[in-house]
């Protein structure tokens, strides 16, 4: 038996109608796996926020989800503009989302703060002009 299951998701840029598909797929898999409702909730929210961020800020990208029986690792990699000031971006309510996106109800500045709040571990690796990779971990 393999002790890790990996899923890959391509996130398309600028397509809000599809944003959230990857996180809801992971959510349904975790439920079938019998993961605790609390862990499912954390993964669903953290990953959804990350997915939306990739659509808004980074022309999409790729999400890799590694599931083991004791933790769920989500790696969100994009080739977007990078985050110039992580501390600022982590502040609740801070957002650089364009007006067009805000008019859709996104861009409340809670993306990164929620990702941090709902994951047990989070690392951000960002290079201006090259892209951002965020690794989040949720313990089961």
């Amino acid at each position: 038996m393999t002790d890790m299951i990996t899923f890959h998701y391509r996130i398309s840029p600028d397509d809000f109608t599809r944003a959230g598909e990857a996180s809801s797929d992971v959510k349904s898999k975790l439920k079938k796996m019998g993961v605790t409702p609390e862990a499912v909730r954390k993964v669903a929210i953290a990953m959804y926020e990350g997915e939306i961020n990739m659509v808004i800020h980074a022309q999409g990208g790729e999400i890799t989800v590694n599931i083991t029986t004791d933790r769920i690792e989500m790696i969100l990699a994009d080739v977007g503009p990078g985050i110039p000031d992580i501390d600022l971006a982590m502040q609740a309510g801070y957002s650089t989302a364009p007006d067009a996106v805000r008019s859709l109800g996104f861009g409340a500045g809670m993306g990164l703060p929620n990702m941090k709040k709902y994951s047990d571990e989070m690392e951000i690796d960002t290079v201006i002009g090259k892209g951002t990779t965020i690794r989040m971990m949720v313990n089961i």
Partner: protein, 470 residues
């Protein structure tokens, strides 16, 4: 009572084994096995979608017949507001209520009257429990059942109040006992239901130990006789109705919420929409909502599968009817608050888990992913499961096999046929092991024949029929 009791049933005789119901079922609870549909009782939420979609009318709801009135010394009809929406040009609910008396009921107690008490209790709950908002309406039993099996994170949001039909039954039973002096078991509290979901509620309620409703009739069954009685009642019947706008509005989507005097609500109807809202709620996509009203049927209760009128036409009729009604006519009496509250918690039933333990489920999830790579991904339904993924899950649960997939079988037949032709040419070329190879070839041909039989069976053809056409 069985916690997975169901009122939606299959009539095997009528079932043709087509794939309409398996495709439409919102919880993927139906499989076609051996040419007949089977409903998985743990997955089913009694929403009635399969009854709606079955072209052969092989799905039906179980409910009681009018004759049950004879079993009691005194009967009380509980008409729901959705019943009032079924008639043309109805201006006065008293016509319906008096017609019910004429049909043989000894008394009527409007569900909409009890609904006004539930609205009152809900308003109080919303203001006293800001930490538990948004509260999700628990009036639709299918929605509560759906949350119980699929949305464990939202169970704390369920409004812990009895649905109006239950409150009506409790009050009607009390009233009847006081009035007649009869024992409770001599009194029949009889609900006239728009849907199978409420039949299920009565037999196996959530939120309370047992229901005070004794029997459930279907609107569509009563309809013709009720119409006749309504004509006999005439235009100026005695006034017996006790509900107003708030109560009657409960019959349509958004009606329950409109009685809460807040704009911060969401009302969704139709089971697919309900599921989308629940998914989004789980991801915390909504903020500042106080109340979420969800109805499994399109249009709300007026869209129930046991009603006769088109749900949207019914909605218009209901609006017209309530136009000149007072806002509310029933109010909470001292001590009645407790009757409205749930007395039993609802617990998560993880029926969709792939295995018994997390380790087993994890291993099976892995197997599902591997199987999905082998299956064609067409979601054709020929295997009897709604999607390739559902088949893969059935296989890992041990409820189906790979060869249930027709494409998988066809591929196998092709491979075997190629093998036979290779062996045949070896034999022709005078191979030394010709005899052995001939035996193997015969085996392969038998297997081809077997697998063709399986394919025939899947396509609904009997072995004899296909022979006949040879």
């Amino acid at each position: 009572m069985d916690k997975f009791y169901h009122s939606v049933r299959l009539d095997e005789e009528l079932c043709m084994g087509c794939i309409n119901c398996i495709k439409r079922c919102p919880t993927q609870a139906i499989r076609v096995r051996n040419g007949k549909a089977q409903i998985n009782s743990k997955f089913c939420i009694d929403c009635g979608e399969c009854i709606r979609v079955c072209p052969h009318h092989a799905k039906h709801a179980t409910y009681d017949k009018l004759e049950v009135l004879k079993q009691y010394e005194y009967t009380v009809a509980l008409p729901p507001p959705s019943l009032y929406s079924q008639f043309n040009n109805l201006d006065d609910v008293n016509i319906v209520l008096n017609a019910l008396l004429m049909m043989g009921f000894d008394d009527v107690f409007e569900v909409s009257a009890a609904a006004e008490l539930v609205s009152e209790a809900t308003r109080e709950y919303l203001s006293e429990n800001p930490d538990k908002l948004p509260a999700i309406s628990t009036a639709c039993p299918s929605v509560v059942r759906l949350i119980r099996v699929k949305f464990p994170n939202l169970i704390p949001n369920l409004l812990p109040l009895n649905p109006p039909v239950e409150v009506a039954a409790i009050l009607a039973a009390q009233k009847a006992m006081e009035k007649t002096g009869l024992d409770r078991d001599k009194i029949g509290i009889i609900f006239i239901s728009p849907c199978p979901s409420k039949v299920t509620y009565v037999k196996s309620p959530l939120g309370t130990e047992h229901s005070e409703v004794n029997k459930v009739l279907a609107i569509k069954d009563l309809y013709p006789r009720l119409l006749t009685c309504m004509k006999a009642v005439g235009d100026d019947p005695p006034e017996i109705g006790t509900s107003g706008k708030i109560g009657v509005s409960w019959g349509r989507s958004g009606g329950e919420a409109s009685g809460l005097f807040t704009e911060d609500y969401l009302a969704a109807d139709g089971i697919e929409n309900v599921i989308r809202v629940l998914e989004d709620m789980e991801d915390q996509k909504f903020t500042n909502l106080k109340f979420v009203e969800l109805s499994a049927c399109n249009g709300g209760c007026v869209g129930g599968v046991l009603t006769v009128e088109n749900p949207y036409v019914a909605e218009v009729k209901l609006k017209r009817l309530r136009k000149y009604m007072p806002v509310a006519r029933s109010h909470m009496q001292a001590g009645a608050e407790e009757l409205v509250k749930w007395t039993k918690e609802v617990h998560y039933e993880p029926v969709f888990n792939l295995g018994e333990t997390m380790m087993e489920s994890f291993a099976r999830l892995n197997q599902v992913e591997r199987l999905l790579k082998k299956l064609p991904g067409l979601d054709c339904g020929s295997c009897g499961a709604p999607t390739c993924k559902a088949l893969a899950e059935d296989i890992v649960r041990g409820e189906a096999v790979e060869s249930d997939c027709v494409y998988f079988l066809r591929d196998n037949v092709h491979k075997l046929a190629e093998e036979v032709s290779r062996l045949a040419s070896d034999i022709v070329e005078g191979d030394r092991d010709s005899y052995e190879k001939f035996k193997v070839m015969t085996k392969y041909i038998e297997r081809i024949s077997d697998e063709m039989t399986q394919l025939d069976r899947k396509e609904g053809r009997k072995r004899n029929d296909s022979k006949g056409t040879d």
